[in-house]
Symmetry: C3
Subunit: 305 residues, 3 copies
């Protein structure tokens, strides 16, 4: 299957996901062996209009482990001709002459699609807009579940936090809906519940789901807890109790012994640091998987050239 | 011919230009073959006191295609000891221990010359001051004309825009004046016409030129249209009509079929996007040539070491 | 001897210093030969919460001369999740998945120790806090004395400037105190003299020292002059005469012919530029030694893996 650009998680069919995950597994082995030099002539351009040191490092490390080079800008918005009113399309046409693949984080929803439409080289979105897509996060999330649970069929997954805005939770719900017998629990304060478009999508595809408002009611049923952040500032009533949406040792005790806790990070108080040492805390393994998934995506795009 | 530093376009004689352009052609082949590793031990330091993502990426990509490494600062002004009042000369003496060639964009006119005077390694100016030199831009402009027109003799070239401040147009006029039977047209609003120093230089060297105020009067005569930007804010009378200085499909129709349109980019409205698909639109090829010219310059400097 | 992290100069015993300096000498030869590729699979992450282009370049150049790769952030404070309130510990745990060694400059005293406590890979402090440690500076200072004076025993060293805050002078005094028959002169305006904790340490270890207030009284006795900066703004009485703390050609004439002048740089007016051409001016050689010392440290840490 040919992959030209990575702009949204919806473009990934189940067979393409499986091909990606096979490559990802082989990348784990490659890294353990100290990396490869197979892509030593390849140059990746990382163009971040919104800074994100962690996501940038993850992509750049992926390219280095493949043997390649990196052109990098931490803050293209501040440091580029965009200031002078240049259109994104012109920037991409030019930067595309200097590298073999572009990683773009853009501040406007749809930026990645616009870039892909004119780019002479493959474009990978590292997130666009605030409500937009962040497809590689969704892919590494799904790979983590696959890697930890050894299957993607028949899983019960609780998604917790500010689900209305959380693009990671939204994308993951979308991707999980493609697999058999998935059961999703959306746990959020009422004003931050998942938006109807996702629920309609799930109903259309016969995916079972439940809305809930307390993690503790659900936690013992699930294979995966996908925790996200709640910004207290966003809550209309500032004295709302957020305890039902936090994970601490008490919540941990109710979890199944083979369940896992995920989080896209950075976290605030919603996962207590006392939870970190539990083997079920998978969030640091999850960020490590980001490296392997991005390596796999880069090889799929560069092998096309 | 030995090249020690690249600080101004005037230092390039016609034989040196021809040597550079021969190397540049061979770099096009090198890039098509996937780059070289001949300079894998070389380190380039890019020291930008004014951020310019595109110029920086062009230099850094050039170094990578040669196999080398890059030390990079996006915004040395903000991030360096210059804040603490350190003199540029001290900075260069120190950074010169960490790399094999320095690419410097400095905010003060003459910064590149001051750096070259004390540097233990070759210095390439990536622009200094606002009215100062940007020699690699002038060289890639000239190479583009050579590459597209297959000669540098007997060419008619129209330079359009805010020519008084446009260092790219000024440098190009200077270099073109070195070749036989050049004819230059300077097309600008009266208050932004090319400055007398360039005209005196052209007269002294017997180069034919004309001043004009409407592109449409000239366009059918020329081999090359070199379009630059006009910042409307600079115009004393804000309601001046800029149509005579823009290029759109109507202007395109009057151009010769073998003529080309160039622009140093970024552009604003002065070249309509509808022009982009015409084969005569050479401005994206021009930025690509920047990569090859910079590779060639780097090899000339590093081969001296 | 196994080196796990480099967080403070106190962790270096005399035998470990000697092992480091042997490696450092061999790195001088490696660089003269054009570098090595022995560490081509290694990735260094440079995480600077306070920008310092020079220190960053020194580390990154060291990694490149060893053949490795670099993930770099010029200004992690501005560009990272720290903005979102993420704890340093979480950042380090994640970044540690993307590289083989972390170079950290943190704005809080003790940041490097906190990072080392949780990091999955070795951490090198590139300075923390304002009064905190900057161990690699202390090590390159000591190596420079060793390299220039061919011994570390029986040396007379004058430390000049704002010694109360100067972490470089403090660390150097500490390290020099480990060697036989050291004699230290602390020369500073009274309100900026070295703090009692260092003097107590010296007394406890039987190291001879003197406090003084004029460089010219001492200069003819010493092997090494270690000059640092005085920020005039810090002085309570703004019209205090700083001449006794400056080095110019007149002071130079009183120095021994085999003595050396050092400075951690950047300098302001405290060393006159007329001094630069004297062979005793060792401050630019000192910065070059920083490259070799950092290469040696990186190999000691990476060889452990």
């Amino acid at each position: 299957m040919k992959l030209n650009h990575v702009v949204e998680s919806q473009q990934f069919t189940v067979p393409l996901l499986m091909e990606l995950f096979e490559r990802t597994k082989s990348m784990e082995r490659t890294v353990r062996r100290g990396g490869t030099r197979d892509y030593e002539h390849a140059i990746m351009g990382t163009l971040f209009y919104r800074p994100s040191t962690r996501t940038r490092f993850s992509f750049e490390s992926a390219m280095y482990r493949l043997g390649g080079r990196v052109l990098s800008t931490e803050h293209a918005m501040e440091f580029s001709s965009e200031v002078a009113g240049e259109k994104l399309e012109d920037t991409i046409r030019i930067i595309g002459h200097y590298c073999d693949v572009i990683v773009l984080r853009h501040h406007e929803e749809g930026g990645a699609k616009r870039a892909a439409a004119v780019s002479p080289v493959p474009v990978i979105s590292a997130g666009d807009g605030t409500g937009g897509q962040h497809p590689t996060q969704a892919l590494l999330d799904l790979y983590t579940i696959y890697r930890e649970c050894h299957t993607l069929d028949g899983l019960s997954v609780a998604l917790i936090g500010a689900l209305d805005q959380g693009r990671t939770a939204r994308s993951l719900a979308y991707l999980l809906g493609k697999f058999d017998r998935t059961k999703l629990y959306f746990i959020a304060p009422e004003e931050m519940q998942i938006k109807p478009d996702i629920l309609e999508y799930l109903e259309k595809h016969g995916v079972s789901y439940e809305l809930a408002s307390d993690t503790r009611d659900i936690i013992s049923h699930v294979d995966v807890v996908y925790q996200t952040r709640i910004d207290r500032e966003r809550l209309a009533s500032k004295d709302i109790d957020l305890t039902p949406y936090n994970i601490d040792r008490a919540v941990l005790e109710k979890m199944r012994s083979d369940a896992i806790i995920m989080h896209p990070l950075p976290r605030s108080v919603e996962i207590d640091h006392a939870v970190d040492d539990d083997t079920r805390a998978a969030y640091f393994r999850q960020t490590q998987n980001g490296l392997y998934v991005r390596m796999a995506l880069l090889t799929m795009l560069l092998d096309n050239e």
